[in-house]
Structures are given as structure tokens and as C-alpha cells.
């Protein structure tokens, strides 16, 4: 019998205990992987290549202040800017006020918006139909599926910010790389009905020449309007999204503390199991020593056993997390920010590594005590 098979056999000699331990570790690691994935999506992921090329300009004071619409032409003149489209939050109510019936609605310029969102897919004839119909709208494919919308359907949005109800005809259905749960319509339609909406823009979406130009363009835009009555704040699309996440509170500390609790709990579980199983085998250790096993090899055997169990739990947890995230990303109605979540190989590797470390740490103390055992004392030990 080789040493590896000895480790494998002894790891599962008490099958029920090992399975319970594996499961317990698996669930903790599932949570850890999910938390790390959220962290990765929020803070490390730079977004797609197309997204990295886009910027969003808003009023410096806050998102709820609007800017003059003529800013658009001034922004267009800045070197490095390829396309600019206004985007106005409408905030209307569809059907009722229930949160599940809430989605984003933007008034924009149909002639240019798709030149900014270069990664959105929409059939050319649908885009043209939308551009021709002032009361038309294009909707996200996922949203269309959720409500069963088809081309030509009419939807009613009850205005909350603007005192107008919009009756829109669906002229196109677009697909974005990540579900947007948004609809876009012609801003002029709102302006015709509400005089105070005229000449105002909530945000501008800008497409820059290349990702390298993004920070240069942002600075140029903000410099241009710095001393005007309506100063602006321009940032990359990713940074703009992150500012919403930050508004939920101290998300970083929140994720970190959950991760910490999970790792510590896993360590406790694993250490309890190892302490139990090594204590039960006090006499065996004495026998092994009698047979000539050195302290080091006994230490190695038990630590190997713990690492093996923890690794199996870790891998299982990663698989569970992977399945769950893939399932969630495709589920309709998932919140906008989590829809782009992907478990990366680096995250999985890190989780498995954490599992191995936990296994190692959990066995160090009991294994050390076992290795130190006096042969005669050990043989006399009654479990």
C-alpha cells in the first residue's frame, strides 16, 4: 500500500463523517465563491471591450439635475468623441407599482443611440421603423420575453417625474451582451407633451475612439463645463455603475466580513472533524510508530488526509457555485448589476486554494499532538 492510498483510505474510513464534513465545507465554499464572484464583478472586471470605450456624463451636483441639451453638440466637438446620445430617465410606472414590474425607461435620440451602444444587436429594418415612428420604442429582448411583447404591441407608461402618460408602440427588440431590462424611446415624444422637458438632458452617453481616450475625453468634457452654471461629471460606464453599487452602503466591508465568517466557520468544521478522527486513532498512531513511521511522516499522513477532505469539499462547492451563477445569470428578473456575473477560473482556483489551506490549518494542531504521542501511552489509550 502506497502512502497516497493510505491517506485516501483513512480519509474515508468513517464514510458518514467524511461525507458530512465534505458537504459542510462544500456549502461554505459555495458561499465564498459567490462572494468572490460578486467582488470580481464589481471591482475587478473592467467590462467588455465596447463598454470600456463608453462614458457617461451627468450633472455634477447629482443625477437628478438635468443639463442643457446643447451640451451634446459641444461634447461632440471634443477630439476622441465618436458619438453622443442623450439618455433621459423617465421613471414611469408600467402596470402597477410592484417592484417586479419596474424597469428602466430612457428617452433618447433614435438616430444616434445605436451608434453609441455598438454592442447592441437590432435588425436594421426594426431600427428604421423605430426612427420613423416618434411614438415608437425598442425593448430589451429579455424584457420582451418576460412580458410577452411582440413588434407592434402597445404599452402604457404612467409618468411620475413628468406629468404625462406615454403610449408607446414596440418597433424593435434589441439584444445586449448583458440583459439591460431597459426600453428606449424618442425623447421628442416627451418634449412635445411636457414643456419643461424641452432642451434638457439627464445624461449623455458617449462613445470614445478607443479605451485609452476615455480618461482624456472625460477630463475634456468636465473642463469645458467647469465654470458654467451646470457643471458636469463624466466617468467611464463601469465607474458610473459602481457609484450605484456604492450607494447600497459599504459593500466591500460587507462582502469581506461574510467571507471572513465563512472561512472561519469552515476552519472550525474541518478542525472539529480532524480532532475527532485523530483522537479516535491514538492507538493506531502508536502502532504506526512501532512499525517505524517517523513523526514527520505521521504528521504528513494526517495533514494530507485533512487537505484531501477539504479539497473535495472545496471542489464540490466551486461546482455548485458555478452552476448557481450560470443559472442566476440567465434567470429573468435578476437585478441589473448581477446579470453580468461570471465565475472566473481565477476565482475557482482561489476558492480551491482556500479550501486546501483550511484543511492544512485544521489538521496542524491535532496531527502535531498525534505525532508527539509516546508509543506506550498511545497503546494503552482507551478511546
Amino acid at each position: 500500500m502506497t502512502l497516497t492510498s493510505f491517506v485516501r483510505k483513512s480519509a474515508f474510513r468513517n464514510r458518514r463523517r467524511s461525507i458530512l464534513t465534505v458537504l459542510s465545507i462544500a456549502f461554505s465554499l459555495l458561499l465564498l465563491t459567490l462572494m468572490m464572484t460578486v467582488w470580481h464583478t464589481f471591482y475587478i472586471d473592467k467590462g467588455s471591450a465596447e463598454s470600456a470605450q463608453r462614458l457617461i456624463t451627468r450633472h455634477r451636483v447629482s443625477l437628478t439635475q438635468s443639463m442643457p441639451a446643447f451640451y451634446r453638440e459641444k461634447i461632440r466637438a471634443i477630439p476622441g468623441v465618436v458619438a453622443v446620445a442623450p439618455n433621459n430617465w423617465f421613471g414611469g410606472i408600467y402596470k402597477d407599482q410592484k417592484p417586479e414590474n419596474f424597469f428602466a425607461q430612457f428617452g433618447t435620440d433614435p438616430d444616434e443611440i445605436m451608434k453609441v451602444f455598438t454592442d447592441f444587436q437590432i435588425p436594421a429594418d426594426q431600427l428604421q421603423a423605430w426612427q420613423r415612428d416618434r411614438a415608437g420604442a425598442i425593448v430589451d429582448a429579455g424584457l420582451a420575453k418576460k412580458y410577452g411583447w411582440k413588434l407592434g404591441d402597445r404599452i402604457m407608461l404612467k409618468g411620475t417625474i413628468y406629468p404625462v402618460d406615454l403610449e408607446l408602440t414596440i418597433r424593435g427588440i434589441y439584444t445586449a451582451p448583458e440583459p439591460t431590462t431597459s426600453i428606449y424611446f424618442n425623447q421628442k415624444y416627451v418634449e412635445e407633451a411636457v414643456s419643461f422637458a424641452k432642451g434638457q438632458a439627464g445624461t449623455f452617453n458617449i462613445l470614445a475612439d478607443s479605451p485609452d481616450d476615455v480618461s482624456k475625453v472625460a477630463a475634456a468634457v468636465d473642463d469645458m463645463f467647469r465654470n458654467s452654471p451646470e457643471p458636469t461629471k463624466t466617468e467611464s460606464e463601469k465607474a458610473f455603475q459602481l457609484s450605484f453599487i456604492n450607494s447600497i452602503g459599504n459593500v466591500k466591508a460587507f462582502i469581506l466580513s461574510i467571507c471572513f465568517a465563512v472561512v472561519f466557520a469552515t476552519l472550525l468544521v474541518s478542525a472539529t472533524t480532524m480532532a475527532m478522527s485523530i483522537r479516535e486513532r491514538t492507538r493506531e498512531v502508536a502502532v504506526l510508530k512501532t512499525l517505524g513511521f517517523t513523526r514527520q511522516s505521521i504528521l504528513g499522513l494526517y495533514i494530507g488526509e485533512a487537505v484531501l477532505v477539504a479539497l473535495i469539499g472545496g471542489i464540490l462547492g466551486c461546482l455548485l457555485a458555478f452552476g448557481l451563477v450560470s443559472g442566476m445569470a440567465h434567470a429573468p428578473g435578476m437585478s441589473l448589476f448581477l446579470s453580468g456575473m461570471k465565475v472566473t477560473p481565477a476565482t475557482l482556483l482561489l476558492a480551491v486554494f482556500v479550501a486546501a489551506i483550511v484543511g492544512f490549518l485544521s489538521a496542524v494542531i491535532p496531527a502535531y499532538h498525534a505525532a508527539k504521542i509516546d508509543i506506550v501511552e498511545g497503546l494503552r489509550y482507551i478511546g
Binding site: L20, I25, V61, S62, Q65, S247, A261, L268, T272, M276
Partner: protein
């Protein structure tokens, strides 16, 4: 006959290390759950106590938040003449037309910019919010670029002390006082004169909302309907309490994530508890057989082991709650999707939260302890004695 509970207590004490480690594992799960529940309780408290049952909030029909409102200033005098509004010492109706705008301020600890609500109000606005008390300085003077800040703003932002200046909209605003509204969402607001604020944000000629103080709760309800039913006004009245109740929905994300995290951690802990209890059963198999011979029935053995598991989880629950105590009252902010600004609330450990936590731990103990206890009760006496 039932096996005395002291038997279980002694057994738990006997295998001290194992008991402590398992209980700690459960405790960590309980701590996480309590933490999230206490956050929600604090959030609820901040919003629920914000509204005054006597105050009627008036906004344009269809508006869901003060930020999205906006009605003509000419309507306000009509509103003031409605019957049912309480009068002050001078016989003037207590009513305040207001603006709520959002500004960006940097956090004191340098972790980024936060949206903060600035409320412009009339002097009557202070009268109809008796819950807000000055703790430092004085109230703002109408017609001056002066503001008073809520307690949370004072604590969380630099430049929010009496004598400092805050820079937003068209210039500097002098901070002349700090007020405390007892943990409600007003504590996360900055208050100033409505006309000054409107001028700075180019919003003259209208108001976002109006607050009317009713003489009594019945009058408040009548007033609410009177406003909504008046065809001339095209306005809608809501009780202030109802308005804030709706805003608790901003805790939805925490609730969802919290439940999810707590359930997954609980599953993990249940497996660990099961392990410990199986070990306890295996370790005491001869003891169990002896108990059976003495005459304890299978059901009483089953009960005894389930009780032991419950005791173990109860210990975990207590430790878990104690671990969260130092954080009780700690405050944090949450973005509100209706007001686009941050509301500060504190971790609020209520008896309800603690009880739920204990119940949560007991369920873990039950799930983890039942199978091992079942095995203990079904053991064959002779085989166990020989073991």
C-alpha cells in the same frame, strides 16, 4: 421516563473542545444572520418612525417621491385654506411648502461621494416636525444662506460642524446648527430656507411638496382625501407615515442577500452539528445500551439526544448574539431608490431579532441532531454493550 437534562449538560461539558468548536461554528452562522436582521430592523426603524401621523404630505398626482414632484407655487395658498389644518399661536395654518434636492458630498473617511438630500422648508416646517430637536447651534434664518444638518450628516461628513461651510449648488452654505430627530431618516438630511434652496437650484415658481399639519389623526385622514379629491389642485395627499413605510423597500436587496447567505451557512452548520452528534452517539454507545437496560425507553433516548443537540445550538445562538453586541448601534448608510440619496441607519438588535436568531439556531440543532438521535434510539442493546 425522561432522561434528566443535566445528563446532556454534563456530557456537553465532558467533551469540552468538541462542544465549543461546534457551538462556535453555529455561533458564526447566527452572528451573520443576526447582523443582517439587525440591519433590516434598524432600516425599518429609520423609516417607520420618520413619519408623523398628523402630517399630510402633498405632492403632484402620480409622484412617488418628493424628488419627482413639482407643482405650481400658486396652489400653496389654496392648500393652506383647507379645513382641518392646525393653527399656530398667531392663528396661521401650520403648513410648509418644500423642495428636496440631492447634492453630492464626500464621505469623511474618504471612501467616495455620497448623495445627500437637502430639504428647503418654511419656518412652519420646523413646527410640524416636533421630533427634530436642535442639539447644537440654532435653526437657520429665512433669507440667509444658512443650513442645519442632521445628526448623521454631522457625524459622517467633513465640514458639517457648526461654523463650517458646505459647498453645493451655487456656493457656500453656512452650517449654523445640528439637529437630532431620533434616528429617523431626517437625520440624513440638510435643512435650509426653501426660497434660498429653490433659487440656488433654479426652481423658483413651484414646490416639490407641501406638508400640512392636521389637528388630529381623524382630521389628517380627512385632509388627505380632501387634497386628493379636489379637482382644481391635481394634487395627491398621503399620510407621512404611509409615505415612509413605502421607502423601507430599499432594504429589499439586503433582505434577499441576507436570507440567501444565512440559509447556505445554516446548511453548512447543520452538517457540522450532525457530525458532532454522530460522534457523541458513537462515543457513548455502551452508555446508551446501559440506559436502555436500566429501563429508559427508545423515545426517551431519542428525546434526550435531540435535547442535547438543541442545547448545543442554543449555546451557539447565545455566543452568536453576544458576538454581535459590540456592533449594536453601529451606523451605516443605504441608498434609497426613491430619493436617490443616502439614509443613515443603525444596527438595531431587537428582542424580535434575538428570538428569531435563537429559533434559527434551534432549527439547525434539530436538523443536525435528529438523525444521530434516531440512530442512538435504534441501537441494538447487545451489540452496543459488546462494543
Amino acid at each position: 421516563m425522561a432522561i434528566p437534562i443535566s445528563y446532556n449538560v454534563r456530557n456537553l461539558k465532558l467533551r469540552k473542545g468538541l462542544t465549543i468548536m461546534t457551538a462556535l461554528g453555529i455561533a458564526l452562522t447566527v452572528t451573520t444572520a443576526v447582523f443582517l436582521m439587525a440591519l433590516l430592523a434598524g432600516l425599518k426603524k429609520a423609516f417607520m418612525s420618520s413619519g408623523d401621523p398628523l402630517n399630510v404630505l402633498v405632492m403632484r398626482k402620480g409622484s412617488t417621491a418628493e424628488l419627482s414632484g413639482g407643482f405650481d407655487a400658486n396652489l400653496f395658498p389654496t392648500l393652506k385654506t383647507l379645513p382641518g389644518i392646525a393653527k399656530d399661536a398667531q392663528g396661521e395654518p401650520i403648513a410648509s411648502a418644500e423642495w428636496v434636492v440631492v447634492v453630492v458630498l464626500p464621505r469623511k473617511d474618504g471612501t467616495g461621494d455620497v448623495n445627500v438630500s437637502v430639504r428647503g422648508l418654511m419656518p412652519a416646517g420646523l413646527t410640524l416636525r416636533p421630533g427634530a430637536k436642535l442639539i447644537e447651534g440654532r435653526w437657520f434664518t429665512p433669507g440667509q444662506r444658512e443650513v442645519v444638518v442632521g445628526r448623521s450628516i454631522h457625524n459622517r461628513f467633513s465640514g458639517a460642524n457648526v461654523g463650517d461651510s458646505l459647498d453645493f449648488a451655487k456656493g457656500q452654505w453656512k452650517v449654523v446648527g445640528v439637529f437630532d430627530s431620533g434616528g429617523t431618516s431626517y437625520d440624513s438630511e440638510i435643512w435650509g430656507d426653501v426660497n434660498q434652496i429653490a433659487a440656488d437650484f433654479d426652481r423658483q415658481g413651484g414646490y416639490a411638496s407641501a406638508y400640512l399639519r392636521a389637528t388630529d389623526p381623524v382630521a389628517a385622514d380627512a385632509l388627505k382625501h380632501r387634497v386628493s379629491d379636489d379637482q382644481r389642485l391635481k394634487l395627491e395627499g398621503t399620510l407621512e407615515t404611509e409615505y415612509y413605510e413605502k421607502q423601507t423597500s430599499s432594504g429589499g436587496a439586503i433582505k434577499f442577500i441576507g436570507t440567501f447567505v444565512a440559509i447556505i451557512m445554516a446548511i453548512g452548520s447543520s452538517f457540522a452539528a450532525m457530525n458532532t452528534m454522530y460522534a457523541a452517539v458513537a462515543y457513548r454507545s455502551r452508555e446508551i445500551a446501559t440506559l436502555r437496560i436500566i429501563g429508559f425507553s427508545r423515545p426517551s433516548i431519542l428525546t434526550s439526544f435531540v435535547i442535547e443537540a438543541l442545547l448545543l445550538s442554543l449555546l451557539g445562538a447565545v455566543v452568536g448574539i453576544v458576538l454581535i453586541l459590540p456592533f449594536n448601534g453601529m451606523s451605516t448608510g443605504i441608498g434609497n431608490s426613491l430619493t436617490f440619496s443616502e439614509t443613515v441607519f443603525s444596527l438595531h438588535l431587537t428582542w424580535g431579532v434575538a428570538l428569531t436568531a435563537v429559533l434559527f439556531a434551534l432549527i439547525m440543532g434539530l436538523v443536525g441532531g435528529f438523525a444521530p438521535a434516531w440512530q442512538a434510539a435504534r441501537q441494538d442493546i447487545l451489540t452496543s454493550l459488546r462494543a
